[in-house]
Symmetry: D2
Subunit: 329 residues, 4 copies
C-alpha cells in the first residue's frame, strides 16, 4: 500500500485522487493546494487530510509518494523538493513551460535518486499499449508511418489558453510522447498551425494544427490536432508497418448501433473527454508507478521522456510561428 | 456466345434481359410475352426481336437457351416444352405454386435431358458464395447454427400478395435454398408467422415470419423475414461453426460514414432492392448457367433443389397455419 | 451505505463480493457458506466477516440486505427467511429449479414485505439498457422482431450440467428475461435443442438451442444459444421495429484492429465471460438494488419476473423434449 | 453515341478501352500506339480498328473524341493536335512532367475551343463524390482538416520509377487534385519524403511521403502516401468540419467477416489496385466527359485543374528535396 499525496487540487488533481481511491494498492493520504478551500474540499470528498503548503507534504514522514499536479512552473521545484525528501514522484506534463527552466535545473534533475515518472497517461491506454506490444512483437513489421488524431471536444476558456504555454505544450505534448513511444527519437518537426476560432487567435495561440515528425528510424509521424470536435473526444492512432497496420478506434459508452431510413449502424458520439476516455489509462499509469516504486525498476516515463516531449513542443511552436521545419537535437 | 430467349417481360424478365445484354458470352435473341406490348417494349429497349407465343420461342432454331420468367403456374409447362425442343433452361423460382403440380409432372421432369437450372441467385452473391467456399474449406469447422436475415424494403401490392402463393413460397423460398446451400437436407420446419400489416392479413398472408429449420447434419437454421425494413433491403447471413463464424454484412452504395454531435460512423441505408443488391449475383448466375451449358457439367441448382425448396415452403406454410412443426420427407 | 451479506461463496458470490467492495454506497459485511473454507477465504480476501450458517446472517442486526447466491434449491427458503428477518433481498436466478417449488411457496412469496430483486444482470448492461430506453422513447417504432444471440465461450463441466436444471433454466433464463424486458409477456415457446457435444447429451442436456418466442404484442423473439463459441462470450442483441433497428455489438478489451495481407480491420476476440463482459451490469444492478432499498421504490426485477422467466424455461424444456410449441399461461 | 479513339495502348489505355466498351453511350472506334503490336492487340480484343500514328487519329473524321494515354511528354502535343482537329479530349494526368512545358504551351492551351477534360478519376468515385456533395450541402459545416490516405499495394518497377517524374507527379498528383476538389486553392506545400526501399532511393525517388497542404480557406490537408501496403490498395479519405466529419472507408470484394479464436469481424484485404478500386470512377468519369461533350457544358476537370495539380507536385518535389515548405502562386 503506497501512501500518496496529491499536490494541486485542480482538474487533474481530482482525476488522480479518484484514481488513487479506487486503486487497491494505493491510499490517498494528503491533498495539498494553496488556493482557498481547494485542498480541503477534495480531501473531504475522500475522507483524507488536507494542507496548503507543499513543504508540509515533503516534510510528512507518512507520505511515500507525491503526485504533482501543481501549475507547470512549479513542476520542477516540487519534483526536486519531493525527491530531496525521499518521496517517489509522479509528475504531470509538461515538465516545464520552457526548456530554459529545464536546462537551469538539469544538474539537479540528473542527480535525483528517487523514482520519478511523468504522467504520459496515454502510454497506458489499453488499446495504445496493446498496439505498442504488437509492434514490439513484430506483428506489422518495421513501422513506416504513424498517424495520431487527437481532437478535444471543445476548447478550454481563453483565460486558460493564455497561460497554457500554447497548443503544442499543452495539448500536442501527449501526441509528441505517443510518437516517441512508437518511433523513438525524432529529428525534425514541421507544424502547420491553424486559427479557426478568432478568440483563440487573439489570445495568441492556434486552435488546430497538423504536425509532421521525422523519426531517426526513417518513419514519419503525423499529428492532427483540433481544440474542438463535434462528435466528442476524438482519439485515434494508426501504426502502419511494412507487413501490416494497427488501428485504435474511438471508444463509445455503449456498443449500440442505430439503423433507420437515414442512417445505418450509426454509433454514439465518442466518450466526451479525458477523464472518461482515459480512466483505464490513469489507473494503469498509477499501477505502473506503484510497481516501479515497489520493485525499484526504472519508471516507464522518466525525466528524459518529459524533456524530449517538451523539446518537441518548443520546436513545433517555433515551426508554426516561422513556417519552417525545425531540427531537434 | 449463347443465344438466349427470355419468356416473361415482367420485373424479373427485365432483370435477366439487362444481365444478358451486359454479359460478354450471352446474346439476347428474343423476348416473349403474351400480354400487350410487354415483349415488344423490352425487346426494343435492347434492339432485339419479340414474340407473343412461347411456342415461337421453342420452335426457333436460333435460340440456344430459354430463361423462364413467366407466371409460376407456367414454369413447369414452359420448362418441359423448352427442354423438349432441346433448349437449355434457366427457370425462375418457385418451380410451381403447389407440390401437387410438381408430382403430376415428376416423370416428365425426371426425363428431361437438357441442362436445367433454377434461379436461386443468392447462391451466386459474391459474399454468400465466399462464405460457402470458406465453410467448404474448413475455415470455421462443422457448421452448428445458421442465421438468415432477409427483410424487403417494402411489401409488394396486396394484389400481388394474393396470387403470390404466400410469403413462404414467394419470399422465404430463397432463404430455404440458402439453408440447403449451407446445411444440406432439412428434416423439420417450424414457422411463426406474423401479421403486422392488417391489409396483408386480410389478403390471407403473413407479412413477417421467423422460421426454424432442423438439418439432418444436426445444425439448426433460423430465417428472419419481414416484408418491410426502414433501412432498405436487409440481407445478412451468419454461419457459426465449431471453430469460428462467418458473417456477410449488408451492402451500401458507398463506404461513406458520417459523424456529428448525434451519430458517429453512421453508414448509408442498404441498397434498396434485389436488382441493385444482387446485380452481381444475377451476372454470376448467368455465367454459371452458360458454363454448365457449354461444358455439359451439371447445373449448380437443378430440379431437385427447386422441388426441395418448394417442399420447405409448403411445410412452413402448414406450420405457420397449424402452429406445429412439420416434418419434411 | 448498505451493509450487505453474501450467501454462497461460489463463482457468483465472488462476483457480487467484488462488486460490493468497489461500490461507493455498499459495504460487504458478511460472507456465508457452509462448505469448507469457502466463506472464510472470500471474507478474508476483502477483510470482512464470515459465517457458515445462513441463520446467522438473518439473525445479524448489522445486516441490511442479503445477496443470495446459494444453490438454486435454497433460493426460495433463503429469500423467505431473509425477508422474514426484515432484510432486503437480491436473489440470483433462477428462483427455483421447478415451478412446483414456486407454486408451493406462492402464498409466502406474495406476502413478502421486504424489497426483493432478482439478478437479471443483463437488464443493467449499458448497451442493452440504452437500447431499451431508445425503444421506450420511440426511436425505432413498435418492435416487430427481437434477436438474442448468446453463446458461452465453453461449456461448464458435465458434473455441473447434471445439476444445472438444463440449458434453458441455467443459461437461456437470462435471454427469456431479456425477451420479456423488451417485448412484455410471452404466449408461446418453441425450442429446438441441439446435441453437439456427446458428453452433454449423455448427461441428458442440450448444449445448443434455438428458441422462438411469440409475444402477446405480436412481435417474435429468437434466441440463439450455444454452450461454446470459439471467439469468446458472444452476446449480441438486435431489436427491429417498424421505423428502425437497434443492435448491440460484442465488446472487446481494446478497440485495436489489425490489417495485414490476410485480414483487414480484424478485431480481438470478445471478452471471455460474464465477469468481464457484465462487470458494469453487475455494478449497475447493485446500484439499482440499493436505490430501490433506500427509496422504497419497487425493484426493477421482482418475483413476478423471476417466476415468468422460469415458466418460459420450463416451457422451452418441454418444447425441446416433445418437439412441439408450448403455450404459456 | 460518342466515337472515341484511345491513344496509348498501355495499362491506362486498357482501362479506358474496357470502360468505353461497357458504356452504353460510347463506342471504341480506334486504338493508336506506335509501339509494336500494342494497338493491334488491344483493338482486336474489342473488335475495333488500330493505327500507329497519332496523326491518323486526328485526321479521322469518324472520331468524335480522343482519350490520351500516351507518355506524359506527349500529353500537351496530343491534346493540342486533337483539339485543333476539333476532337473533344480526355487527357490522362499529369498534363506534363514539367511546369516549363506547360508555360511554353500556355497560349495555345488557353486558345483551345474543344472540350478538354483531365483524368482525375477519383473525383468520380461514388464515395468521394458523395462526401463532396455532403460537404457542399453543409452536412459537416466548414471544412477544417482533410486527411487523404493513399497507399499502393506494391511499387512499380524501378525502370518505370525512373521515368515517372517522381512520386509526387506520378502518384500524389491524384491526392493533390483531391485536396483541391475539397478545399479549393492551396497556398503552401510541405513534403516529407521517405526512402524505405533502397532500390527506389537509388533510382532517385522517394517511395513514401507525408505532405501538408495549407489551403487559402484556412483548412489544412494531410496526404499520406506509400508505394506499398500489405493489405492492398489503401484509399481512404476523411473530411473534418466544424459540425461533423465524413469518412470514406476502403472497399473489399465481399462484405464477409471472419471470427475465430484469434480474430473477430476480420474483413478481407482491400481491392488490389486502381482498375478494380476505381472501376466505377472510370465509368462515371467517362459519363461526365460524354455529358460535357454532348451538352457543351464545361468539363468538371479542365486545364486549370491539371496545371494546378502539377504545380503542387513540383512544389512538393522541391519541398521534399530542400526540406522546406514551398509557397504556391
Amino acid at each position: 500500500m503506497l501512501n500518496i499525496a496529491v499536490i494541486g487540487a485542480g482538474r487533474i488533481g481530482h482525476v488522480h485522487a479518484k484514481t488513487i481511491i479506487a486503486h487497491p494498492d494505493a491510499a490517498l493520504a494528503l491533498v495539498c493546494d494553496p488556493v482557498g478551500d481547494a485542498a480541503r474540499t477534495l480531501a473531504d470528498q475522500y475522507g483524507t487530510r488536507a494542507c496548503e503548503r507543499a513543504e508540509d507534504v515533503f516534510a510528512d514522514p507518512g507520505i511515500d509518494a507525491v503526485i504533482i499536479g501543481s501549475p507547470t512552473a512549479l513542476h520542477i521545484p516540487h519534483l526536486l523538493a519531493a525527491a530531496e525528501a525521499g518521496k517517489a514522484v509522479l509528475c504531470e506534463k509538461p515538465i516545464a513551460l520552457d526548456m530554459k527552466d529545464v536546462e537551469a535545473a538539469r544538474a539537479e534533475l540528473d542527480a535525483v535518486k528517487s523514482p520519478v515518472m511523468f504522467g504520459f497517461n496515454r502510454r497506458f491506454d489499453p488499446s495504445f499499449a496493446a498496439m505498442r506490444a504488437a509492434v514490439e512483437n513484430g506483428r506489422v513489421g518495421e513501422l513506416e508511418q504513424l498517424t495520431i488524431i487527437s481532437r478535444d471536444p471543445a476548447a478550454p476558456p481563453v483565460d486558460y489558453i493564455k497561460v497554457s504555454g500554447g497548443i503544442f505544450r499543452d495539448m500536442t505534448i501527449h501526441d509528441f510522447d505517443t510518437a516517441r513511444f512508437f518511433l523513438g527519437e525524432i529529428t525534425e518537426v514541421y507544424a502547420a498551425g491553424q486559427n479557426l476560432d478568432p478568440a483563440i487567435e487573439e489570445a495568441g495561440d492556434f486552435d488546430a494544427a497538423v504536425v509532421t515528425l521525422k523519426a531517426a528510424c526513417g518513419a514519419v509521424a503525423t499529428i492532427i490536432n483540433n481544440r474542438h470536435c463535434s462528435s466528442g473526444y476524438d482519439q485515434r492512432l494508426e501504426a502502419s508497418g511494412r507487413d501490416g497496420a494497427l488501428l485504435a478506434e474511438n471508444i463509445r459508452s455503449t456498443t449500440v448501433r442505430l439503423s433507420n431510413a437515414k442512417v445505418t449502424d450509426a454509433q454514439e458520439p465518442y466518450l466526451d473527454f479525458f477523464l472518461e476516455r482515459y480512466a483505464d489509462a490513469y489507473r494503469l499509469e498509477l499501477s505502473a508507478f506503484i510497481e516501479a516504486v515497489e520493485t525499484g525498476a526504472p519508471t516507464p516515463t522518466g525525466v528524459d521522456d518529459a524533456v524530449k516531449a517538451l523539446a518537441l513542443a518548443e520546436a513545433a511552436t517555433e515551426s508554426a510561428r516561422t513556417g519552417r521545419p525545425v531540427a531537434v537535437a
